[in-house]
Structure formats: C-alpha cells, structure tokens
C-alpha cells in the first residue's frame, strides 16, 4: 500500500511538472534587455570580429548607455544601427519598423562612382537585347558582335530562376564566346548564382571555402567547408567567357565570380569587386524587430580572405567620367577585343 502511494505521488508530481515553467516566460522587451540580446547574439555569431580587429565588448560599452537613454523607439533603433555600423559590414542590417525600414552600413563601394549604366551599354552594344520570358525576366541577352553573345544579370535576388539562363543560351546559338555582365550586381540568392555558373562549368570544381562561427569565442570556427560548382542546366556554354565586374559587385555576385573563374577560358574584366562575403543570417527580437549579421568567412580556392578587399579582375579596366560621357563602355570594348582575338 505504501509503495502504491509513493508511485501515485510520483505520477501526480510528474504530471504537474509538465505544467511547469520550464520554457519560461517571453523575454523582456525593455531597452536594456533588447540591447543585451542583440549584443550577445552578435557576440555569439558574428564572423569578422578578429579579422577586422573589433573589440565588441568596447563597442557595446560605448553604445549601451546611449541606447538605454533613447527617448523613442526610433532613437533606440538609430543607436543600434550606429553600433552595427562600427562593424563596417554591408551584410549587417536592422529592420525595426517593417518592410522598407531596413538600415544597413553604407560601404565605400556603395558610393564609389562606377561610371556604368546598364541602359547606355545595352543601347550601344546590344540594341536588340531581349529579356528572358521563362521566369520573371532576370536576364537580358543578345549578340554584342558577330559570334559574341552578351548576358546581363543585374541581380541574383529571388529563387528558382537559374533556368532562365538556359533560355538565353538557347537563343544565342551563334555565340562562340560570351560576355556575362554582372556589374552593379549586389548579390541575392547564392544558390542561383552558383547554379548559373554551373551552365559554364566543364566539371565539378572547388571555387572556395567557408568557415562558420561555431562557438562563443570570436575565433571559434568550423573547419573549411568546400564550395563546389557543378555542371548543370539544359544548356552548357564551353567557349571563352568574359565576366565583367566592378565595385558594385558583392556577396553572391562574388560567389558567382569565384565559381566562374575556376574554369579555364574564363576571364574577369573590369574593376575589383566590393568585398562583402559574410553570408548573413536573420535574427529577431522579442519586440518584433529583425536584424542580420554575417556568420561565415569566405575564402578563395587558395584560402585567401577577400572580405573588405574584393576580387581583383584578370584584366583591370576602369571606366572614367570621360568614357561615360562619350557613351563608351571600355569594359565591354575590352571584352569584345578579347573575344575577337579568341575567335580569330
């Protein structure tokens, strides 16, 4: 009888424990709690503290008092954004007041004049450019010269549209060499970028490495995770390719450059890319705000970091005010010259 009572008591206790506060209440939404949550999340996940020589504790100490003294949500958000800006990373952003309110660091490559206009380049060199119809029209294409095809990919945003490049390649059967113009491409979906690069891949090749933050120490990272590009798509292009780049290319656009340049017969022409490779993750706060931060370090195939430096072209051609005013695009001119030489 005594055993029975003990067991019955245990059952009630266990069942009552199910009702307990194990998970705990929602976290506080006062400014001190929000600030500390954000600071800690960066401390745990941000990937470039050591690389950029950032003392995150000191940064937090500098901004905490001002953040807590903020008299409005707007002022508090501004102080968080100011703290984020110290990371000098365009992949770090804060969205406090819904769509359209995202604030991110303005990098030097955001303001450097590139003297490039998609419209004027297309008008001059590919006047009969078409837009892919199989998706949402992400690619413009045409012939820039006899035997020289031209693909314009302004962004890698969105998902599932890499097949549009098959349509473009199918429409350019006379192209024996190809210009792929990604200047000003601020990235987007990394998978799309690598899938498109796969249309030009001759075999599986390693184009870089990633190391993810994996622990609380600012130097805690996973081993190198190999990044590869594989041949894919219904259309392949195996001739010479000229990828046009400038300072406005970053993030997934840089993945595209990496994935393209490992193939022989690919030449990068233009200016150095922006150098922002962090691979952002989204995080959220109990008050509904969201923010993004870089979680990895990306490396070139020879394990060099290009964050903040960019990827240098094989042939550097930098448009000037004069070339722009004259309606010329010296980068396309250079690529056309290379293509003509290759086609001879």
């Amino acid at each position: 009888m005594r055993t029975r009572r003990i067991v019955a008591f245990c059952l009630v206790a266990v069942s009552a424990a199910c009702a307990g506060d194990l998970v705990g209440p929602p976290p506080a939404t006062d400014r001190a709690s929000l600030f500390d949550t954000v600071w800690r999340e960066f401390d745990l996940h941000y990937s470039f503290f050591q690389l950029k020589g950032i003392d995150w504790a000191a940064v937090g100490a500098r901004h905490r008092a001002a953040a807590l003294a903020a008299t409005s949500d707007r002022a508090f958000a501004d102080e968080l954004a100011a703290m984020f800006a110290e990371l000098r990373d365009p992949h770090v952003s804060l969205t406090a007041f819904g769509p359209g309110s995202t604030v991110r660091y303005i990098a030097p490559f955001d303001t450097i004049p590139t003297h490039f206009s998609e419209r004027s380049t297309l008008t001059r060199y590919v006047p009969n450019a078409a837009t892919t119809a199989s998706g949402a029209g992400h690619i413009r294409y045409g012939m820039a010269a006899p035997g020289v095809g031209y693909l314009r990919i302004a962004s890698f945003l969105g998902q599932g549209w890499s097949g549009e490049v098959d349509e473009a390649l199918a429409a350019l059967p006379g192209a024996t060499s190809m210009i792929v113009d990604i200047r000003g491409n601020g990235g987007g979906n990394r998978n799309v970028a690598i899938e498109i690069a796969g249309r030009f891949a001759d075999r599986t090749r390693t184009f870089g490495y990633l190391r993810y933050r994996s622990g609380s120490g600012h130097g805690d990272f996973t081993d190198y995770v190999t990044q590869t590009v594989d041949p894919q798509g219904t259309r392949k292009f195996s001739g010479p390719v000229y990828v046009l780049t400038n300072r406005g290319d970053y993030s997934s656009a840089e993945d595209f450059v990496l994935a393209m340049r490992v193939r022989p017969q690919v030449t990068i022409v233009g200016d150095t890319t922006g150098g922002a490779s962090g691979g952002p993750i989204v995080r959220e706060l109990p008050n509904g705000w969201t923010y993004e931060l870089s979680q990895w370090i990306e490396y070139t195939p020879d394990k060099q970091v290009f964050e903040g430096k960019g990827l240098a072209p094989d042939i550097q051609v930098v448009p000037t005010v004069a070339t722009f005013a004259a309606g010329r695009d010296p980068v396309v001119d250079q690529a056309l010259g290379l293509a003509a030489a290759a086609n001879r």
Partner: protein, 262 residues
C-alpha cells in the same frame, strides 16, 4: 498555461479511476502486444539557436509500440512522430511562425521488481533516440525561413507500474535521461551539412523526463482500445539553450498475441 490545467487534471482523473476499480481487475494474459495511437499534442519550446523567444503550439502525435514480456523481463520498442505548428509567445505582433517535425525511437528493458497480487512494478533502462527538424520563419521583410536540425540519444533509468483496472490495465511509465549524445545546432542547418556538432551530455547539462499514464482495455481480448497521456520535457543547457515541453493525449488500438500467462 494550458499545461497547468490539462496535465494535473488528467493525471488525477486517471488515478481516481484506478483506485476506484482496483478490485475488479486481473493482469493481462498475453505476452506480447502491438499498439498504435494518435492524438493532439500541445507543446512549448525555446530554441535559442533559432530565436530568443519561446514558442507555443499544437500538433498531432502518433505512436507505434511493441511490448513483450518474458518471465520477469519486459521489453518495449516505440516509435513516435509528431508534427507541430508554433507561434511566438512574445507579444510583438509579428508573423513569426515555426513548424516542427519530431521523431523518436525508444527502447526500454525492464525487470519486475515488485509484483503484487494484481499490480506489477518494473524498473530498468530506457534508450531514447530522438530528432527533429525545426523550420523557423522570421519576420524580416524577406520572410526568411531557416531550418534547424537537432538530435539526441539518451540513456537513463526507467520504471513502469502496471495496475489492473476496468478489466484492462492502467500503466504508468517514467524514464529520465542520465547520459547521452546531443546534437544541437549552433546555427542553421547549413552548418549541419558540414559537421554535426555531437556532444556528450550528462544530467548536469541535460535534464528531462518522458512520462506517460495510459489505459489498455479488454485485457483478455486480442484486440482492444487504449488511451495514453504522454508528457515529455527536455532542458539542454547548451551555449544556446534548448528547452521543450510537450503533452499529448492519444488513443488507438492494441493487438495482443503470443502465449498467455498462466
């Protein structure tokens, strides 16, 4: 809050029924049984790898279980599956949502240590292997959805108390993990593709229990009905904490076979 009202109530009702009808029953005559049950589940969880906010939600849980008795030894194999939908408990007016798919395999070996004229009390070991996929949709402008994969293999003591009631049997089970291996992601699932972060855990960093209180009818028939109140909890003091409680009230059928007890 729902736990506070639901679980003690169910437990007390079952215990009351058990006491009131104890004298009418006999032990089950079959050596093996197979049961299939399903029902609603209510859960709360906090996975700091995905969000600092706790989430609560409902879902459906299903379980298949095979039990075998041989002399004083009892073995049990169970497979659980659950699909849950969560929403944030934070009052932020956001669209944060989660979906979770959980699965578990439990193997229990028990030995009768306190058999009375009607009831049987058994104790032994339980191996609990469980895994889950948490799909977390953030409230950012892009409605980013990120997957988090977790898994645990836990070993610990288990007890079972079987008591005849209503011509069937009331069965209470409890297991508590003591040691094991945990995989709790530091960040989203992309990192899991690179290297699962397996970590040996003990009761100092991972605590929990798996408890159930059930009723099996028609002990003398090959096919019967059964119902079970099932509660689980896990508190993993990882660098980014993971906590989960879930309760489920399931019902289904039980099929008995094998030689009968004398």
């Amino acid at each position: 809050m729902l736990y506070r009202t639901t679980s003690p109530t169910v437990a007390c009702l079952c215990l009351a029924a058990l006491h009131a009808t104890a004298a009418q029953t006999r032990s089950t005559p079959f050596s093996q049984s197979f049961s299939a049950t399903t029902g609603p589940t209510i859960s709360e969880h906090l996975d700091a790898s995905a969000s600092p906010m706790p989430f609560a939600g409902m879902g459906v849980e299903a379980r298949l279980r095979y039990d075998r008795s041989a002399g004083r030894w009892n073995t049990s194999l169970a497979i659980d599956g659950a699909r849950r939908s969560y929403s944030s408990r934070a009052d932020a007016g956001t669209n944060v949502r989660e979906r979770a798919y959980d699965g578990a395999f439990t193997a229990t070996v028990l030995r009768d240590i306190g058999a009375g004229p009607a009831s049987r009390f058994s104790a032994g070991l339980a191996l609990d292997v469980r895994g889950g996929l948490l799909s977390h949709q953030y409230a950012d402008p892009g409605a980013t959805t990120t997957d988090y994969v977790n898994g645990y293999a836990l070993l610990g003591p288990a007890v079972r108390w079987r008591y005849p009631v209503f011509g069937g049997a009331a069965i209470a089970r409890l297991s508590v993990p003591l040691v094991g291996i945990a995989h709790h992601p530091y960040t989203d699932a992309r990192i899991d593709q690179a290297s699962p972060s397996l970590r040996a855990v003990s009761a100092t960093m991972l605590r929990g229990y798996d408890a159930s209180l059930g009723f099996e009818s028609s002990a003398r028939r090959r096919v019967g009905l059964m119902a079970e109140f099932h509660a689980r909890a896990l508190d993993y003091a990882d660098l980014q904490q993971a906590r989960m409680t879930s309760t489920a009230l399931t019902a289904g059928v039980i099929v008995r076979f094998g030689r009968t007890h004398p």
